[in-house]
């Protein structure tokens, strides 16, 4: 089943979607975080393949990336780690375009497919440069997720919604990844604009740090992506069980909000 089918089914069943992020290879036993996220009710999990120069990431993900690279983590090892896993949650790889260029789009996507990954996010690959990877991803059965930002004008937003696969990643604010104290107003506006343009799931990411944020952002979108808030806990030494418990609280908040409405 494709990532998109899976997310649509759940969304259409009335569920708000939750996608936590983990930097692959951050600890020797990092796949335990995947299991904890799955147990906590994640609908998909984003796995970062660390790149030395993460230009769209704030301090937290930068630190997580540095830590993984310092351990000697490589994309190949990370994909090796997950290919043997028993899990029922779609995995979405995310990385910067240089790692794709390094292997070549076809080889890169084939490696993702062989590891059981069904989606891909490349934050420094805008629509205009995405052609090669779109083709390679489609052939490998990988959904290439495109990002939309508050600065994206409407006709371009429509094209992003049309060409994105899996879901549309709504970048909540003009800034880098990282925890924030409130959900930016631009998140709601952007999610609503995309929703008017497409039936595809719309996920809001960047700055979603608490269950309250998740609930607020999910009102205008189909779900949320939680990265830096998770990785802050991981960097502070939280074990998978504890990070999973945080995520479970977010899950409950989203479910309660649904039941209330």
């Amino acid at each position: 089943m494709t990532l998109e089918t899976r997310l649509r089914d759940r969304r259409d069943a009335g569920r708000k979607l939750l996608m936590p992020y983990v930097t692959g290879g951050i600890t020797p036993t990092w796949v335990d975080y995947l299991r904890a996220f799955a147990d906590a009710g994640a609908d998909a999990i984003e796995v970062g393949l660390p790149f030395s120069d993460p230009t769209l990431d704030g301090v937290t993900i930068q630190q997580a990336t540095d830590a993984a690279l310092a351990r000697g983590a490589t994309a190949r090892d990370i994909l090796g780690d997950i290919s043997g896993l028993e899990h029922d949650v779609p995995l979405v790889a995310s990385t910067y375009y240089n790692l794709v260029v390094h292997d070549g789009p076809e080889r890169f996507c084939a490696a993702l497919r062989d590891a059981g990954v069904t989606g891909l996010i490349v934050p420094d690959l805008p629509l205009d440069e995405a052609g090669d990877l779109e083709d390679a991803a489609a052939s490998a059965g990988i959904d290439l997720v495109l990002l939309a930002s508050p600065a994206t004008p409407q006709p371009r937003l429509d094209e992003i919604a049309r060409r994105s696969r899996g879901f549309i990643y709504a970048v909540s604010l003009m800034g880098t990844t990282g925890e924030r104290s409130v959900v930016a107003e631009s998140a709601t506006t952007l999610a609503s604009r995309i929703k008017r343009s497409t039936e595809r799931p719309v996920m809001v990411g960047f700055g979603i740090s608490t269950p309250e944020h998740a609930v607020e952002a999910a009102r205008s979108a189909d779900g949320v992506i939680v990265g830096a808030a998770v990785m802050r806990r991981v960097l502070d030494g939280a074990i998978p069980h504890d990070v999973g418990a945080d995520l479970a609280r977010m899950r409950r908040a989203l479910d309660q909000e649904r039941d209330r409405r």
Partner: protein, 385 residues
């Protein structure tokens, strides 16, 4: 070396690999630049500032004693004599005028050796703009004089402590900052790197070096054009500006990189800081940190147009060690009374080596762009000598 089109392509290189949040901002810069460049008013203001504020044209200096020692005819294009001491000001003057025209009130810049930062701080002061300069902590240590100059000129200097703590990470941090500040701020990129339109626009603003030198060579040399045109290459802006003036001649173009930062000579295709170009990478696609005594050459890649010129075979890229550069610096100082920047000394070093090895034929005419002066490097030199 022409207009790379809307997609900003130099062969397979270039392009605009930026987060979606920056696409609109890059387009806005491109539109504004295309419009300004054909506006006589803009070109007139730029020409006037370059003349009365920057001191252009810079001279072409025949170096008699060193030439005699090497058995060649060496001419220096003296960008070290431009205001603030390097070629960086040519580009900044153009971009800052553009930023003002776009209604932006603040310039963001990255800097390695601090020359681009100083130039940005200087022109910002001149035009009444604010300036925020990102600089690696390691460069802040080795270029303390330039940090002081920037602050004195009213710029905010933000230390970058991540990664290599040099130019690469300063550039990443400037881009991150720009994502959140596109409304009122203009990203003034300091080299022929970054997403479209920067490599093309920066080369166009630096082209004044090559155009002036072409005219000066025409009157200075009986052959009209030199046999060789040589410049140092970090990201490659002084080289791109110089080469642009000679790419349609018979002159052989040589870019000189630091051995530890040789993106063009030793890199492989990749994408960093918004462009597809040549970068130093490990076997897994991670960018490798550059290492050079010259902060301005301490960058693991090269501008996309240089990658293209390399592939075409129109320019060749060679490397020089730290030691060669330092001894060339001293030799130029003692034979000609000119203390070049350590960056520029790399170009001098290659000429010395190539002349000695017979690679430069006896009597060859060589134009070398001396991109900057060495005052900023005095403390580094004190440690090295």
């Amino acid at each position: 070396m022409s207009d790379p089109g809307r997609q900003g392509r130099f062969g397979e290189y270039g392009g605009g690999y930026v987060p979606e949040s920056l696409v609109a901002a890059c387009r806005e810069v491109e539109e504004a630049f295309r419009e300004a460049w054909v506006d006589p008013g803009f070109r007139g203001s730029l020409a006037r500032l370059l003349a009365v504020h920057i001191g252009r044209p810079t001279p072409l200096t025949p170096v008699r004693r060193l030439s005699a020692e090497l058995g060649i005819n060496l001419l220096l294009k003296r960008e070290d004599l431009a205001h603030t001491g390097s070629h960086k000001i040519n580009n900044v003057t153009g971009q800052a005028l553009l930023a003002s025209r776009m209604g932006k009130t603040r310039l963001i810049a990255e800097t390695g050796a601090g020359q681009h930062g100083v130039a940005t701080a200087t022109v910002a002061a001149l035009l009444g703009l604010k300036a925020t300069v990102f600089m690696g902590e390691r460069d802040i240590e080795r270029q303390a004089l330039n940090v002081f100059r920037m602050r004195m000129l009213g710029a905010e200097v933000i230390p970058v402590g991540t990664g290599s703590r040099t130019l690469k990470d300063a550039t990443s941090q400037a881009m991150r900052h720009w994502v959140g500040a596109t409304e009122d701020s203009y990203y003034c990129v300091g080299s022929v790197i970054g997403p479209h339109p920067y490599p093309w626009m920066v080369r166009t603003f630096q082209r004044v070096i090559g155009d002036e030198a072409r005219g000066q060579c025409a009157s200075e040399l009986s052959t009209g054009v030199p046999d060789y045109v040589v410049a140092c290459v970090g990201g490659g802006s002084n080289a791109a500006g110089t080469f642009a003036g000679f790419v349609d001649t018979s002159a052989r173009l040589v870019g000189v990189e630091a051995e530890g930062g040789a993106g063009a000579a030793l890199g492989r295709a990749g994408v960093l800081h918004g462009a597809r170009s040549l970068f130093l990478q490990d076997g897994h696609g991670q960018i490798v940190e550059a290492h050079s005594v010259a902060a301005g050459l301490d960058y693991p890649g090269v501008g996309p147009e240089h990658a293209y010129l390399r592939d075409l075979g129109r320019a060749r890229y060679v490397t020089v060690t730290d030691d060669e550069a330092i001894s060339a610096l001293v030799r130029l100082a003692r034979t000609e009374g000119i203390v070049p920047a350590i960056e520029s000394a790399h170009a001098v070093a290659w000429v010395i080596r190539a002349a000695g090895a017979g690679e430069l034929p006896s009597g060859a005419t060589v134009l070398l762009t001396l991109s900057g002066r060495g005052d900023k490097d005095v403390s580094t030199l004190k440690e090295q000598l």
